[in-house]
């Protein structure tokens, strides 16, 4: 492409002659504060402005932002050197759509806060628990017979409701779960020790959402549901969502699983009807507080 009229060598872009000159150009590209497109020069501490949609640069008003607004020394107008202009354009503030993942990122942040442990792979832990339960059940069966095994089972079973754990005589407890709670509570009379194993497969049973690592799964669900429908499948293929897929029992069940887990998060329209620059937090803010207050993070924390 031709940026300059031929025959006007004096206006040709200054070709950086050495690394130092290149460094200056590169440093000047952003010509502004700490980060690309820092949306609010006043900073996050003036956070009321941040949270408001007005805190966002409105890319529509600024179709071709060549010169970043510069509070400091450099003039905000376009630099003379085409190369500098190019770099400034590349480093221009956020454009429409670039911040579309904001709510999903915040959901992930909340989820991480709710389930702090950075390390312990929840899946392995669950498997360990399951194995222990299985061994315990086996030993109990061998030594004390079916009834004791049933007790063991019930204690180790994944049923996470804070109901007194050794309550085999309480199969008819008020079932708060909308659908049949039977799946999560082995009937005390059943007696067969073999059912000890089923809890290793994380089924989308009604009890599943309350597993100890549920906060993480919840966060992933929220992030998942926040995605436009077209992107969901691809997201599930990424490792970050593996815990969610595992919890749901398969990628094809994730949506159903999440909708059951977060009934209030049911998106108005799957294809993300939200305005494209989703920096505006309002739709999420509505549902966030309730969820957060009620989140079962206490288990995990």
């Amino acid at each position: 492409m031709i940026m300059r009229q031929p025959g006007r060598p004096d206006r040709q872009p200054a070709r950086p002659t050495d690394r130092a000159e290149s460094d200056r150009l590169l440093d000047a590209a952003r010509g502004q504060g700490p980060a690309t497109g820092t949306p609010d020069p006043a900073g996050w501490s003036a956070s009321t402005g941040l949270a408001a949609p007005t805190g966002l640069p409105d890319p529509a008003d600024r179709p071709t932002p060549t010169g970043p607004t510069d509070p400091g020394g450099r003039p905000a107008s376009t630099p003379a050197d085409p190369l500098a202009r190019l770099l400034a354009a590349a480093a221009a503030p956020a454009r429409a759509g670039e911040l579309a993942g904001e709510e999903a990122a915040l959901a992930a942040f909340r989820a991480a806060r709710a389930a702090p442990a950075p390390g312990p792979a929840p899946r392995r832990r669950r498997l360990t628990v399951a194995a222990l339960a299985w061994l315990g059940a086996l030993a109990a069966t061998a030594t004390a017979g079916v009834a004791v095994a049933a007790v063991t089972l019930d204690r180790e079973a994944p049923d996470p409701r804070p109901v007194p754990s050794t309550a085999p005589a309480d199969p008819t407890r008020p079932a708060p779960a909308p659908s049949g709670p039977a799946a999560s509570s082995p009937a005390p009379g059943a007696g067969a020790p073999s059912p000890a194993t089923p809890d290793r497969s994380p089924r989308p049973g009604p009890g599943a959402p309350d597993r100890p690592d549920a906060p993480q799964v919840r966060g992933l669900c929220r992030a998942y549901l926040a995605k436009p429908a077209a992107r969901r499948d691809r997201a599930l293929a990424t490792p970050g969502y593996a815990p969610l897929v595992a919890a749901a029992g398969g990628a094809d069940r994730v949506e159903e699983f999440c909708l059951r887990l977060l009934p209030d998060a049911r998106p108005a329209g799957p294809p993300k009807a939200r305005p494209s620059h989703a920096g505006r937090p309002t739709p999420e803010e509505d549902r966030r507080p309730g969820r957060d207050n009620g989140r079962p993070g206490a288990n995990a924390a």
Partner: protein, 209 residues
């Protein structure tokens, strides 16, 4: 790293959601642009994976240049993505973007002053990968050469050299007459890579080590 960013990191580590939002808004545009150069259309997915990991690991961040830390995560995720796709890191250039570039002197004069972000990034993406990465990390993410070197696992001097070469190449592209409709027909920018980055081999000038 600016004090502001530093404070925001600390506050986010303490659980301040608005601080995290600030971090997101500060970093995401640059991350996305950098990732677009690395993985093309998958950039958004990789970016959201990146933020997932940032959220998870933020508590373990012990200081230093936060942007470099975050970009390192993004880069690793991008490389994972490329490995998954079994193709080498390269810099796909969306063809339609190039088509949007001003094609004649009349519009060039105007466009030269209002070169859009998209077009600018597309031009940078025509550089050999190492140069493009160096330019993007320095100019778009805003890292200094040392931090960029840490992200890339190279010496700061190598980053400076790569960025310098990249800028010279860009300047040549911008200078027009000699390098005619360079970004279109001329083979210098690896146009084929736009379609499918099969070769991934950098062009004529090998990137320095």
């Amino acid at each position: 790293m600016s004090d502001e960013l530093e404070e925001a990191v600390a506050a986010a580590q303490a659980g301040d959601e608005e601080a995290f939002r600030f971090l997101y808004r500060s970093l995401q545009p640059g991350l996305l642009r950098y990732l677009t150069a690395l993985v093309g259309p998958d950039a958004e997915d990789v970016a959201s994976e990146t933020w997932l990991q940032i959220s998870r690991d933020l508590s373990g961040f012990v200081g230093g240049e936060f942007r470099a830390w975050a970009v390192t995560i993004a880069r690793n995720r991008a490389l994972d993505q490329l490995r998954r796709q079994r193709r080498r890191p390269s810099l796909p250039v969306p063809a339609q973007v190039l088509d949007d570039l001003p094609g004649n002197a009349d519009t060039a004069e105007r466009a030269g002053e209002t070169l859009g972000t998209e077009a600018a990034l597309a031009l940078i993406a025509t550089l050999p990968p190492r140069e493009a990465e160096a330019v993007l990390l320095r100019a778009v993410i805003g890292l200094d050469a040392e931090s960029a070197g840490r992200v890339l696992g190279r010496r700061a001097g190598a980053v400076r050299t790569a960025a310098h070469r990249g800028l010279r190449r860009l300047a040549a592209l911008l200078r027009g007459p000699d390098a005619p409709p360079a970004t279109r027909a001329h083979p210098t920018p690896p146009r084929p890579r736009a379609a499918r980055p099969a070769s991934g081999a950098p062009q004529a000038e090998p990137a320095d080590g």
